[in-house]
């Protein structure tokens, strides 16, 4: 199956997380921090560090390492708090 990340199609296995699929596709980061605008991707991989935040189908602050990819999801990089 696949999902869209910032418009590009990303392949994912069944029950694979969005974060793992992005790493496998060569992405290192998809979140910029709210103070310093620094890039973050996966750090702890188990849902405790909140670095890997991503916007899924319009909902911000989803932990990419915990969120299972679903076919056709629209995933966007998140800037800061994710709320406009």
């Amino acid at each position: 199956m696949s999902f869209l990340f910032d418009g590009k199609e990303i392949a994912a296995d069944a029950s694979q997380s969005i974060g793992a699929a992005l790493i496998a596709a060569g992405y290192r980061s998809w979140h910029t921090t709210r103070h310093l605008g620094a890039p973050r991707g996966i750090f702890c991989g188990i849902g405790i560090c909140f670095d890997c935040l991503v916007i899924v189908n319009g909902r911000p602050n989803q932990r990419a390492c915990l969120t299972e990819a679903r076919d056709g999801d629209e995933v966007c990089a998140q800037e800061g708090t994710g709320h406009g």
Binding site: A20, P39, G41, I42, C44, C49, F50, D51
Partner: protein, 441 residues
């Protein structure tokens, strides 16, 4: 209402749930994740067990038909008149007794550049590999302290990544000082020896007294500085190595939100971690609460399985076989010996620049943390947290808690307790919190 709610479905929780169920108790097993296994047995659906340990134990345990509630993230547990209520993201679970098997997560030390994409925790690299089938990168440096670095490096190597080296900050020869514990746990040693054989087969060197003291790069890590360390972890020499991935870990931190919410006694363990206090029957200081696995002290999967079984039996009112109790004591002694072999030494604080972020999610630099102590009069971790804000972000101090406690002064149980207590263990929306509020007329 269940007789027993088991919180956490890793080795300890799964063993507890199965033991209690077989003893005739009504058991509900709760986990935030989609399947049983916890961190130790992270796997993908359909996994055949290759690259996993004690896989047959997992298969045996998960065949037992249990009332398993996945996708239930626990945010608060409270005692009520006749038992306990466990509040989760998917509803409330009531029970007469509890087994808390919440496990642990990686313990981290900050270093310049540790926030660069491509730097993962050792557990994160392992979770990606075992749970997702994804190698974290191509040219990997594995660093930190503790026996967990070996399976991480071995796993990545077997998956085809180029592991440039394993860099252990300590010098684990001290292990030989605890021969009694070593002998009682021969199989643990064999496990370590097996990993070393894998590393040798791939030509990966295991270095001691050396670790990553800085990471470099623009928008991702491109190189690291390896520091040769003295026995207190001050840097005596450096060399730079190009890489695209770092997997780093300094032991584990037990997840104590739930024992602390319930008011259970805690104490400082040999490895400087705060752990929940359990007696020989795995009982916490609060009646009706049992503890098993890493929450009682980091000790590995075999110990977690033992303690889980003991906790499940006791919670179900069954007196366990003395052999299990003896085996547990042996494994505890081994864990203690391991902790003494892999201490965190204070010299890591000299690796930090003023700009090095201590708190990743709230972006608090070392300068602010130090200033709160030196200039603003902070004398304990709580004051440091309130003045400089490490631990106030989304992760609520899980990543930076230990480092913050060290930077605030000598680490104490009270100081760690202040940073580890979280009345809200997982973020919960205000809407769902409000849902059950009935407006009084």
């Amino acid at each position: 209402m269940a007789d027993i709610a088991v919180l956490g479905a890793g080795p300890a929780g799964l063993a507890a749930a199965v033991a209690a169920h077989r003893a005739g108790a009504r058991v509900t097993l709760v986990d935030a994740g989609p399947r049983v296994g916890g961190q130790y047995w992270r796997h993908q659906d359909g996994d055949d067990g290759r690259g996993h340990h004690l896989w047959s134990t997992l298969c045996r345990l998960r065949e037992v038909p249990l009332d398993f509630r996945p996708h239930h993230a626990i945010w608060h547990v409270e005692r009520t008149g006749d038992g306990f209520v466990t509040h989760t993201s998917a509803g409330e679970i009531t029970s007469q007794r509890l087994v808390i098997a919440a496990g642990a997560h990686d313990r981290q030390l900050p270093f310049p550049g540790w926030t660069l994409p491509g730097v993962f925790t050792a557990g994160g690299a392992q979770a990606l590999l075992k749970g997702q089938g994804v190698a974290a990168g191509d040219r990997v440096v594995v660093a930190g302290t503790g026996p967990f670095l070996l399976p991480v490096a071995a796993g990545l190597a077997e998956a085809g990544a180029r592991v440039l080296g394993v860099y252990e900050a300590g010098s684990p020869v001290g292990f030989a000082r605890h021969p009694a514990a070593v002998l009682r746990n021969a199989s643990r040693i064999t496990e370590g020896a097996a990993y070393l054989r894998v590393l040798r087969r791939h030509g990966i060197a295991f270095h001691t007294r050396k670790t990553v003291v800085a990471a470099h790069g623009d928008d991702q890590v491109r190189a690291v500085t390896l520091g040769s360390l003295d026995r207190d972890w001050h840097v005596v020499a450096t060399e730079d190595v190009e890489c695209d991935t770092v997997a780093v870990g300094y032991g584990f931190t037990p997840q104590l939100e739930i024992p602390l919410q319930l008011g259970c006694d805690t104490h400082l363990d040999v490895d400087g971690s705060l752990v929940a206090t359990a007696d020989d029957a795995q009982r916490a200081s609060v009646p009706g609460v049992y503890l098993a696995g890493e929450v009682c002290g980091v000790g590995g999967a075999r110990l977690s399985l033992m303690e889980g079984e003991l906790a499940g039996l006791h919670a179900a009112g069954v007196v366990p076989d003395k052999r299990i109790v003896r085996r547990r004591a042996a494994l505890r002694a081994f864990a203690t010996a391991m902790h003494r072999t892999y201490p965190v030494r204070p010299g890591w604080q000299t690796w930090l620049d003023d700009d090095t972020l201590v708190c990743r999610c709230e972006e608090v630099p070392a300068r602010d943390v130090r200033r709160s102590v030196v200039e603003l009069g902070a004398t304990d971790p709580r004051a440091v947290k309130l003045l400089a804000r490490p631990g106030m972000g989304l992760c609520q101090g899980r990543v930076c808690g230990y480092a913050t406690a060290c930077l605030a002064g000598p680490v104490t149980a009270a100081g760690l307790r202040d940073l580890s207590a979280r009345p809200i263990a997982q973020p919960v929306t205000l809407g769902s919190l409000a849902e059950q509020h009935v407006e009084e007329p």
